[in-house]
């Protein structure tokens, strides 16, 4: 069984080769140029005809086709010697950005992502747009400047062009069948209507209410959160006037939610339901109502799960009392961040201005149903398609507004709460039967302890807005 010398040498060579290959695989790339570490690598590469490449990362698939067409048109027509590369990262966008920041490979432009924006805004990662905007541009977008959100210390980091908020989505046919003349305004009416539908039509597999409760945060961010903002002016449990967290005011609303999700009212299996299976059942006429975002549903029922637009409509989210004590937040869905450390930041801004901030782009975006514009000039100019034009509450109304950011939204690491976050804690009330009063008191204590610890550690800041008026935030 002795190995010959030749065999032994071959075996040793192969073993060495395997080790070397493995080591090479683990080693990653070395740039050899430390100066590259801070800049967008793609921006300094040239194409065959020495064009400057501007790389854009997006996380959005729904508008990718529309934007790619605009990018292609720009690439073929621009005389600035710029080539734009538009790249889609739908999975793990946040992690991809984190790694890119570390390795100095962040692209020149990124689509807006709240967490990514907040995480790096204090590290000088984003370009101050004011440095490059001319007076006309500043004037055009002046309504979209929100101090403390996109404008910090006199620097403008992005311009939001579209927004979304939550609405009650309901099936008009089902409402008519059971004799409901108008959508509910209060949570008590909502429970009553949902129960009526389930009682009368569950034999046909039709139920009054559904929500995709598999992910409490996904479901409640678009529903309960927004209802509470209008109900008592508190955003995600934070009271801006007092500068503290206070969840005790959620008790009544959670009581109604417990009823809505009970077996005699809710669509079976809401606990494990995702949003798309819910939408397929709504499109099949099996669900009376649910709550979702304004920007997504028209496109979903036009293309993804086709449903006759005349069969459904939207209405404001019902609240406990029906009294408007505050505005509900508009969440920005479109905006772009420019990498301040890119060696071609000036050209990146040029691309941004010529493509994404152009009126032609913004009007087409709104008309195409890719987002709900929050720019008054665009809203005025756009010819809306039937789904949006016929449903008043799909557009932004007086009940909607841009609210300040909570301490946790400003910096997630500033409020590290011990135990379950408030979404999961609510789950223990409506599904677990936990005592609401005691649970909400404990939740308030835990959030305030975490908030104060963040301030003490120097990670967060005390936030109190003197004379805060939730109706005129």
């Amino acid at each position: 069984m002795k190995m010959t010398r030749k065999r032994r040498l071959t075996a040793l060579f192969l073993t060495g080769a395997m080790t070397a290959l493995f080591a090479a695989g683990c080693g990653g790339q070395t740039t050899g140029d430390p100066g590259q570490a801070d800049g967008g690598q793609g921006a300094v590469q040239g194409t065959g005809d020495n064009k400057t490449v501007i790389r854009i990362w997006t996380k959005d698939r729904h508008d990718a086709k529309y934007i790619q067409e605009k990018v292609d048109a720009y690439n073929s027509s621009n005389t600035d010697n710029i080539a734009v590369e538009y790249e889609l990262y739908t999975d793990n966008f946040d992690q991809a950005v984190d790694l890119a920041v570390q390795s100095g490979e962040l692209p020149d432009i990124l689509t807006l992502n709240d967490q990514v924006y907040s995480q790096y805004v204090n590290q000088g990662q984003w370009l101050d747009l004011y440095e490059y905007m001319d007076d006309d541009m500043k004037e055009y977008f002046k309504e979209e400047v929100y101090p403390g959100i996109n404008e910090i210390d006199g620097k403008l980091y992005y311009i939001p062009t579209c927004g979304t908020t939550g609405r009650l989505v309901y099936n008009k046919e089902i409402f008519e069948r059971v004799g409901i003349s108008e959508p509910p305004k209060t949570l008590a009416e909502m429970v009553e209507d949902a129960r009526l539908i389930t009682t009368q039509l569950s034999g046909e597999g039709i139920y009054g209410f559904a929500q995709h409760m598999k992910s409490a945060s996904s479901a409640l961010e678009r529903s309960l959160d927004l209802g509470m903002e209008r109900e008592n002016g508190v955003k995600k449990g934070f009271d801006f006037a007092k500068g503290v967290y206070d969840f005790t005011g959620y008790e009544e609303a959670l009581g109604y939610w417990t009823q809505l999700l009970a077996e005699d009212v809710a669509f079976p299996g809401c606990e494990s339901l995702d949003i798309d299976p819910l939408r397929t059942q709504f499109a099949n006429g099996k669900i009376g109502m649910y709550i979702s975002w304004t920007h997504s549903e028209p496109g979903v029922y036009r293309e993804q799960f086709p449903m006759d637009s005349s069969k459904w409509d939207v209405a404001p989210i019902p609240t406990s009392t029906g009294v408007e004590s505050g505005k509900q937040n508009i969440k920005f869905t479109s905006g772009y961040l420019i990498n301040a450390k890119s060696p071609n930041a000036d050209k990146a801004f040029q691309v941004y201005k010529n493509i994404f901030a152009s009126e032609d782009f913004l009007v087409g975006y709104y008309e195409g149903g890719y987002g709900v514009s929050i720019i008054p000039q665009i809203v005025k100019k756009a010819n809306l398609n039937e789904e949006i034009a016929g449903k008043t509450w799909l557009q932004m109304q007086d009940i909607d507004g841009v609210l300040p950011m909570t301490p946790q939204e400003k910096n997630v690491q500033a409020v590290i709460v011990e135990g379950e976050d408030y979404y999961k804690t609510f789950e223990s009330i409506y599904y677990g039967g936990a005592d609401a009063k005691e649970t909400l008191r404990d939740l308030t204590d835990r959030y305030n302890r975490a908030y104060e610890k963040g301030i003490a550690d120097g990670v967060g800041e005390k936030l109190v807005i003197e004379q805060y008026d939730p109706l005129n935030a």
Partner: protein, 310 residues
């Protein structure tokens, strides 16, 4: 002269050892990079508060993360759930796999086909498996409910993924996904049983059941010990099954300890609001590893008799 021989001997031994080390090198590198380094990394972050890349420098917190694990009620609920899931899975999958192995051990064309069918779920993607079981078990139009309703066994749909039944559904999914694997181990074990012993039993007039009970099962002791250990340890680490079907819900009814630690590193969709906390996630992982290790040690002590083959 003696000195010369000794030096030559050392040189030969060194050369031979060097060859062995070179052969071991690829695996050693893999082992260090993929096992040792992550363990050291995890142990280090147990003592820090750290939110991941781009969230500032890790902050030393001493034993605080570990103390928090012991105060965390949801974590201990997940530990109990892990034991329920593991116990439910092992107690059902082992007899079922053994039974299938017994009836399919004989080499026939049908048995080969049947073995492949039973083994198929083992190589199926967990994501596909989760989707299939969601379609089977979902409350509103799942196949299982449709069959039961049509047969008149139930009058209203059962919420298989609700808090009452979700754990049972997970155990069923785990059995379906893993039984083929254990069946193959058992078939290998049965084939190792001494033919002489089986023939002797036959000559002595032992029936099939007697042969099974007194010859086959005792002689499979060592392999049974390994199969049991594999099934116990895999039950402790099984998060893909839970992740694709329930993500630990509803209201943590199916949260298992491995998934609970995982979500602090990579928030899954059902807990996407969880803020990444690498330090606390590391502490949860270390405590979970200690629990799993303790269970394995206890099992190995209790199962020492299985090594005795008569």
């Amino acid at each position: 002269m003696k000195q010369q021989v000794s030096t030559e001997h050392k040189r030969v031994v060194l050369k031979r050892n060097l060859e062995s080390y070179v052969f071991m090198l690829p695996n050693l590198v893999l082992f260090v990079v993929c096992s040792i380094y992550p363990i050291i990394w995890t142990l280090k972050y147990v003592f820090f508060q750290y939110g991941g890349i781009g969230t500032g420098n890790p902050k030393w917190v001493g034993l605080e993360n570990l103390a928090r694990v012991f105060r965390d009620e949801v974590y201990w609920k997940s530990v109990i759930n892990t034991f329920i899931y593991g116990f439910g899975k092992v107690i059902l999958i082992i007899p079922l796999a053994f039974f299938l192995a017994l009836i399919l051990v004989k080499q026939t064309k049908f048995n080969s086909f049947a073995q492949s069918m039973v083994f198929l779920p083992t190589i199926m993607s967990s994501a596909v498996m989760g989707l299939v079981f969601y379609l089977l078990f979902n409350a509103y139009n799942g196949e299982i409910n449709q069959y039961l309703l049509n047969a008149g066994i139930i009058s209203r749909p059962i919420n298989w993924l609700g808090k009452e039944h979700a754990m049972k559904t997970l155990v069923i999914t785990a059995i379906w996904g893993g039984v083929g694997n254990y069946m193959v181990y058992f078939i290998a074990g049965i084939q190792q049983v001494s033919k002489d012993a089986l023939e002797s039993a036959k000559i002595d007039g032992a029936g099939r059941l007697q042969t099974l009970w007194y010859i086959t099962i005792p002689m499979m002791g060592p392999i049974l010990k390994i199969i049991l250990m594999l099934s116990i340890t895999s039950a402790f680490n099984d998060i893909t099954n839970v992740m694709v079907l329930t993500e630990g819900g509803p209201n943590n009814a199916t949260m298992v300890m491995a998934l609970y630690g995982y979500k602090y590193f990579f928030p899954v969709s059902a807990s996407e609001s969880v803020i990444p906390q690498y330090g606390y996630g590391a502490a949860v992982s270390v405590v979970s590893a200690v629990i799993a290790g303790a269970v394995t040690v206890i099992y190995l002590r209790l199962s020492r008799k299985l090594d005795d083959v008569y």
